[in-house]
């Protein structure tokens, strides 16, 4: 990286060391799975039904028909994800027009493939860069648990060690239809979520105190 006449700010060596240190730091801290954001699953019917009905339903309806996934291919599963985006299984039918290249424009992250420790800080950063509310879909067994590479020295044993996962789609790789089914599960989750909780506003009606 040396260009004559101009002093370097950081050498390649320093940058590599800094990257290695960050990987090691994450590797030491991320040992336990992050629990799934699934508390809403246990909510009773009555609690679910007391809503800011119309407005909330409208928001959810709009949201679940325009979930934009971030174009985040890691390994083999990425090509099934692309299969989903192109002609035969067209995800435009679900309002997921494009796989966004930037995480800032996306609200769904499809973790498609093996997450290695070297990639883990990048995955974490991409997740942090996505605007709220956001959902994560772990596609394929490598993302769910490390899969066949779980015992390897360089593979994260499940992406849920780094980021919370909403839906797990098993398969190695799952068929595009299986992934579509997973996306529909995400839609279900969106429509039955609780907006006021996301917005951290005091609930109207005093149905429940958190």
């Amino acid at each position: 990286m040396e260009v004559a006449g101009i002093p370097e700010v950081y050498s390649s060596r320093e940058l590599n060391l800094a990257e290695g240190a960050e990987i090691e730091r994450l590797r030491c801290t991320a040992t336990q799975p992050v629990p799934e954001p699934s508390e809403w699953l246990d909510e009773g019917d009555i609690e679910k039904n007391i809503l800011l009905t119309t407005v909330e339903r409208m928001i959810h309806w709009g949201r679940h028909y325009s979930t934009w996934p971030v174009n985040f291919g890691l390994a083999c599963c990425a090509f099934e994800m692309i299969s989903l985006a192109v002609s035969r299984f067209d995800i435009s039918r679900f309002g997921m027009e494009l796989l966004r290249a930037s995480p800032r424009q996306a609200d769904l992250m499809i973790v498609a493939g093996t997450v290695t420790w070297k990639m883990a800080p990048a995955v974490r950063r991409l997740y942090d860069q996505m605007p709220e509310p956001k959902w994560v879909l772990a596609m394929g067994v490598c993302a769910i648990s490390g899969g066949t590479f779980r015992e390897s020295y360089s593979v994260v044993p499940g992406v849920n060690c780094i980021i919370p996962v909403d839906v797990y789609v098993p398969g190695c790789p799952p068929r595009p239809e299986a992934l579509m089914y997973g996306l529909m599960q995400i839609h279900d989750k969106i429509t039955s979520a609780d907006t006021t909780k996301d917005l951290k506003l005091p609930r109207l009606g005093g149905a429940r105190q958190r």
Partner: protein, 370 residues
């Protein structure tokens, strides 16, 4: 760059590991002077899964699913290369029918892989997603056939030591015949849309030229090597399996630029169709899998088996100590070695050309990082 006084301060851009044009999790640390590439440093390892280490603890049969996940766009040829190396090591004969089946699926895999390579290349030229839609249409047909054969679309686990796992069902044959009959027409369609397109020609002709000498010295292989004019194809020059029974040409480029790589792939697809057609005519009836004990236990020794995978020479180096698992398992990654010359190819070109040149090498990260 004549006017040196207008030179800007160089700056560094990290392309990847998450970037839509890097075919996965590849990363380049690129130094630019204005928009001109001054230095490229490829960085890998973002998909390093330790397959070589894992394989040391698995039996020879259990490694086959691992090889699927090496170059996941050409799983069949990976299977093939690996089982061929083991057969060479253990001295296992392969039935005729299995050899023909391997050729048929191997060549179909090559078509499918080249379709993606050209599709993504044109995608990166700016024709966003439309060519990919065309290419995927044909690829889905091949995947359907593989699905029929072994029940998966991407990771097949089809070949076994001493043959293949399944005989194709009866409905496989008319579908393959029909596919081979129709495929040249589809290739014409792509060529009509793309090859004579002026934008494509302007962006690819004489871009990223690789010389013959450098290509050989840098151990390039596959269409990347042949595009430079080196007439070297393992299917003919180090004949393996039954390739000596087929008539096919090996397309060779002259210039070694991006366009030649594209043309090599397109013409190779036509040759693949020819090979499949001949194989379909010649295929005999009979056994498709040799009768072997459940656990393969090759004698102590070592072997280097290599085949012409869609992306180049794919080699497997195995060391056996007469146990049920290999002592050492090494994969010669074709695309990683092709990337040796990335720096030479891209310096002096602009950012947009860097993406195109990189796309023309056609990398698959699963194989590079293993």
């Amino acid at each position: 760059m004549e006017a040196t006084e207008t030179r800007t301060e160089p700056f560094v851009i990290n392309l990847g590991p998450h970037h839509p044009s890097t075919h996965g999790v590849f990363r380049m640390r690129v130094t630019f002077d204005g928009e001109v590439v001054v230095d490229v440093e490829p960085m890998f390892g973002y998909l390093h899964r330790g397959i070589e280490k894992l394989a040391e603890g698995r039996t020879y049969t259990q490694i086959i699913p691992l090889t699927d996940r090496l170059d996941y766009l050409a799983s069949m040829t990976n299977n093939w290369g690996y089982v061929m190396a083991v057969e060479k090591l253990a001295g296992v004969p392969v039935p005729e029918r299995a050899e023909y089946l391997r050729v048929i699926v191997g060549e179909m895999m090559r078509i499918s892989s080249h379709l993606l390579a050209t599709g993504f290349l044109i995608n990166e030229l700016g024709a966003f997603f439309t060519p990919l839609m065309y290419m995927y249409r044909e690829r889905e047909k091949i995947l359907d056939l593989f699905d029929m054969l072994c029940g998966q679309r991407l990771t097949y686990n089809y070949m076994r030591v001493g043959g293949v796992s399944h005989d194709p069902p009866p409905e496989f044959w008319p579908a393959v015949k029909r596919f081979v009959r129709e495929m040249p027409g589809y290739i014409d369609e792509y060529e009509g849309l793309v090859t004579t397109n002026e934008i494509v020609l302007a962006r690819t002709k004489d871009v990223g030229v690789l010389s013959k000498e450098l290509a050989i010295n840098a151990s390039a292989s596959g269409p990347f090597l042949r595009a430079t004019g080196v007439d070297w194809d393992l299917r003919r020059d180090d004949t393996y399996s039954i390739y000596d029974r087929f008539k096919f040409d090996i397309p060779v480029g002259t210039n070694g630029d991006v366009f030649d790589r594209y043309m090599c792939r397109i013409q190779e697809m036509r040759q693949c169709c020819r090979i499949i057609e001949q194989a379909l005519q010649q295929i005999p009836r009979g056994e498709f899998r040799a009768r072997l004990p459940h656990l393969v236990r090759p004698p102590a020794g070592e072997v280097y088996g290599h085949i012409e995978a869609p992306r180049g020479e794919l080699g497997f180096y195995l060391v056996s100590d007469n146990s049920i698992a290999p002592y050492r398992f090494h994969v010669r990654p074709s695309t990683m070695i092709n990337l040796t010359t990335l720096r030479d190819l891209t310096i002096g070109w602009k950012l947009a050309d860097l993406i195109v040149i990189f796309g023309s090498i056609d990398v698959v990260l699963g194989e590079i990082d293993r």
